[in-house]
Subunit: 203 residues, 2 copies
């Protein structure tokens, strides 16, 4: 069986590969296809975005597709930036500029009110329909200054509960076990495993 990963993020690609290891599933990438239309993530929820991306890429490739959308929900910002995390405070900002802007907004917020939640939604679709939508979350807090060089996005300012390091400081092994994306991918992988097992039985 083949599945197309609707992302250009290499970290996500590696994580999915690891989780699907040992299964008869071939992971394909957007780069493997020509002329995949750019999907505009203009939904009001993670699920809308993930479903839209999965559906459009499945239609364009004729294959099964896995697509995700995720965001950071900061308690003191009433759950913002949330679904707008990637585009928040200006489309043209770099990751660094974006998380510095977040720290600026939280500069008067005391330590015990800096809670935040990373959320990831994954949709799996065939060209015919949406098969499954799953979600993963990771609770933590926003530190006062960036720490670490790993990861991407808001990772240098997010410290997961139970750890003394930000996502950007944790090893990929640890992050890929506890992150919102890892938790959603684990569920997606279980679904896909059942799916592929059944195909094997039938075939």
């Amino acid at each position: 069986m083949e599945i197309v990963l609707a992302t250009r993020n290499s970290g996500k690609v590696q994580e999915l590969r690891r989780l699907l290891e040992g299964l008869p599933i071939t992971v394909l990438f957007l780069e493997d296809f020509r002329e995949i239309p750019e999907v505009v993530e203009d939904g009001e929820t993670y699920e809308e975005n993930a479903v839209k991306k999965a559906r459009e890429v499945a239609a364009a490739t004729g294959r099964m597709v896995l697509a995700d959308d995720s965001g950071l929900e900061v308690d003191a910002l009433q759950g913002g930036p949330g679904v707008h995390s990637a585009r928040w405070s200006g489309e043209e900002l770099t990751d660094h500029e974006r998380y510095m802007k977040l720290l600026e907004k939280l500069q008067d917020t005391p330590e015990d009110e800096r809670g935040a939640l990373f959320r990831c939604t994954i949709a799996i679709a065939t060209p015919r329909k949406i098969l499954k939508v799953v979600q993963g979350t990771c609770r933590g807090s926003i530190v006062s200054s960036p720490q670490g060089a790993g990861g991407f996005g808001y990772d240098p300012v997010f410290m997961p509960v139970g750890y003394n390091h930000t996502f950007a400081e944790l090893s990929p092994e640890v992050k890929n076990r506890i992150s919102h994306r890892a938790r959603a991918l684990e569920k997606a992988a279980l679904f896909l495993e059942g799916y592929v097992h059944s195909s094997l039985e039938e075939g």
Copy 2:
């Protein structure tokens, strides 16, 4: 699709029904079949027991089967009673006698050393093979005297992390969201959902 639940515990039956709601899966019970041989749970691990039960019931019924094994691992008892939880301290004890025995063993153990882990392993098998083994855990501590009348087994003495009530005091809704068995069943349900979706596509 049909699946046989290899348990005579009605709590487990209800939980699985809820998790599989909306899927075209019919849950069957051991009572629906005649002459299912009693499976002796003599394995050294939860997985051995769950796999053995799933395999034997699948062979006897000719159906897909879901079987579980679980146990309570108490830090101060070096992980005991663990896989022997059900038979620990004498085959013939009631739940009440069994958890009172546990409290007796821990009577000199201070509060901060009473940590424990509930663990559940689920195996899914067809008559031809073991399809999948999943696991769920729930961390907590052993209280000093039994509290609550719900649940079964060690529930009256186990308080999950983040709650001020034992499993026996929590509503079924809460327990069925956070318990070791619920977490394992959630994974099993994802696998089964993929499995049944694929069958539908093929058919």
